[in-house]
Amino acid sequence: MISQYIIDALQQLLIPINFITLLISVFFGLLVGMLPGLTATMAIALLTGLTYRIAPDTAILSLVGVYVGSISGGCQSAILLNIPGTPASAATATDGFKIAKRGEGGLGIFLATTSSFLGTVISIFCIILLTPLLTKFALKFGSYEFFLLALFGVVICGNLTSGDDSLKGWISGILGLFIAQIGLDGLNSYPRFSFNNIELMGGITLIPVMIGLFGFPEVINAFMKEEKQILNITKFKMTEGFKIIKKNIVTVIRSGLIGVMVGIIPGVGEDIGGWLSYWAAKTNSKAKETFGQGNYEGVIAAEAGNNACVGGAIIPILSLAVPGSAPAAVLLAAFWLHGLRPGPLMMKETPYFLYQLCIFLTAGAFMMWILSQIISKFTVRVLQINKQILMPVIFVLCTVGAFVINNRIFDVYLMFIFGIVGLFLAKLNYPAAPFLLGVILGPMADTNLRRALVLSKGSLKPFFTRPISIFFIVLIMVLILSQLNFVKGLKKELVKGAK
């Protein structure tokens, strides 16, 4: 039976119209991913409208292609410009940009896209083999766990991106969390910090913040007289790239699994997946200090992690009709539109769908990899363009990107304001990534904390009695305490003593 489904799906792929659709949609996805301001969620939403009248198989194929493409596409601008094309690639930029600055942009992109491909494949395996089991895991996450997960995400990001002293990272994260609180609150629609301004009451949209935080400093850099040297782009051989991947295969697998887990948890998606995988890689590496300086493993981990979320986010869609991440939510809507009914009855009523989806995903990932290699040959040249020509054009693109999300000019103003904030953060040595993560996770942290307290009627006990909560609390404590000076001193003593 199963093999029959798989063969059917493969046959569908080979129909010319389907194949071309896959090609165009993955390309479209890559393009969207690359352009800062256009996100995977938007791309899928756009395409859902466009493909409504098309046959379900072709439509689903195109949506899957766009999804995979856009999550991967972000790595190109993250690596080449230090501006993440989508929030998911923020972690990739950390090491990726340094790699590009060394002239190895092509290699960096190759590593990123290959890990993306492998990450997606790992997640597909998990879909096929583990969907029922993993669904049970997803259900165990309640409001308590979500709050702690959000907190954990910000703390980790702080630790990861601020070198020795995490304090600045945490401050950055707290500021980000605060910014997310501006606007109508999630539970009661009570206006907070909005100074009676209608626009502010709508809240601070994520994308303009991201573009401002990361894009603005890069654009301003173009105005400084320093950077006139032209980079020597070193060509790389694919075999060299494959060797590096092979060396780091453990990282790939680990990041893939982490990505799947993160993807499964409803509401937590590709952006977190990248960071968590990055953190795991750094912690388990013997060369921790090189992370953030252009370590290949960082890019590999981040990209494998964020792409594995794609498959992970689809798992709860299939079993519960609950999306595992924002783009997955739009994908779910598209499924419904085409008369598909994912959910508990899916395996009984449309059993072929699971396998069809997996085959489509694999094909999409493969197509993404091939297209990326071709595209990157051109995009890498971007690094060689005179910054003073490139950056103004990028800025115009950023402005468009900021506007396009909600069609309000206010978002463009926001981008500018957060651009200034980003400048300050950069000049004062505060990492921007925890700020971004704070803005992403702020609403989740806020509504879940209060919902958890409503459930427990104000008591903090459940936080300390539920197994997953305890796990998170311990983890967070360890992360924070390890930064205290005397603990650091203790560590040094221990290391000295061991030598």
Binding site: I171, D185, N386, F395, V400
Partner: protein, 162 residues
């Protein structure tokens, strides 16, 4: 002034500013809690309050780490020196120029003119001022970029431009 010391002073300033911000956050959240008339644990002011407290804590720690052995008088006089050198730095002037340009684009040009016109003006003027390359090339690049962006977004993506 050594780089490390420079950073220390910068950190002190930011620590003070952050503490001020955190105190504002704390007071505003208390007001929100009072005003929203629901139990504390469901109040919209809860999270900002927690964040404000943590921010205050962190900024105070930051302050403490950097003040250490520096005497207050010396700090103040050094500040003056720092500030003056900062203003004179050519980089700072360039950055300010850049910011003003971008601000003019974002706040004046885009809301009031058709997008392609605003972007065209912006691109040409910026690249000329910073003397990126010959005027002819500037115009070609600007026109090409504006046209392709228009085509890309309005036709292929079907999204409206500002």
């Amino acid at each position: 002034m050594k780089l490390k010391q420079k950073h220390q002073y910068l950190d002190i300033v930011t620590a003070v500013v952050l503490s001020a911000i955190s105190i504002y956050i704390i007071t505003e959240s208390c007001w929100i809690i009072k005003d929203s008339k629901v139990k504390l644990y469901t109040s919209p002011g809860l999270m900002p309050l927690i964040l404000g407290i943590f921010l205050l804590l962190c900024s105070l720690i930051l302050l403490k780490r950097n003040i250490e052995k520096l005497v207050l008088k010396k700090i103040l006089s050094n500040f003056k020196l720092l500030f003056e050198s900062f203003i004179r730095d050519s980089n700072t002037i360039n950055i300010l120029k850049g910011i003003i340009f971008l601000a003019i684009y974002v706040f004046l040009l885009v809301p009031n003119f058709r997008f392609w016109l605003a972007s065209l003006i912006f691109l040409i003027s910026i690249m000329s001022i910073f003397r990126a390359t010959s005027l002819v090339r500037i115009c070609i690049i600007s026109i090409l970029s504006v046209v392709s962006i228009n085509v890309l977004f309005q036709v292929i993506f079907h999204v409206p431009l500002p």
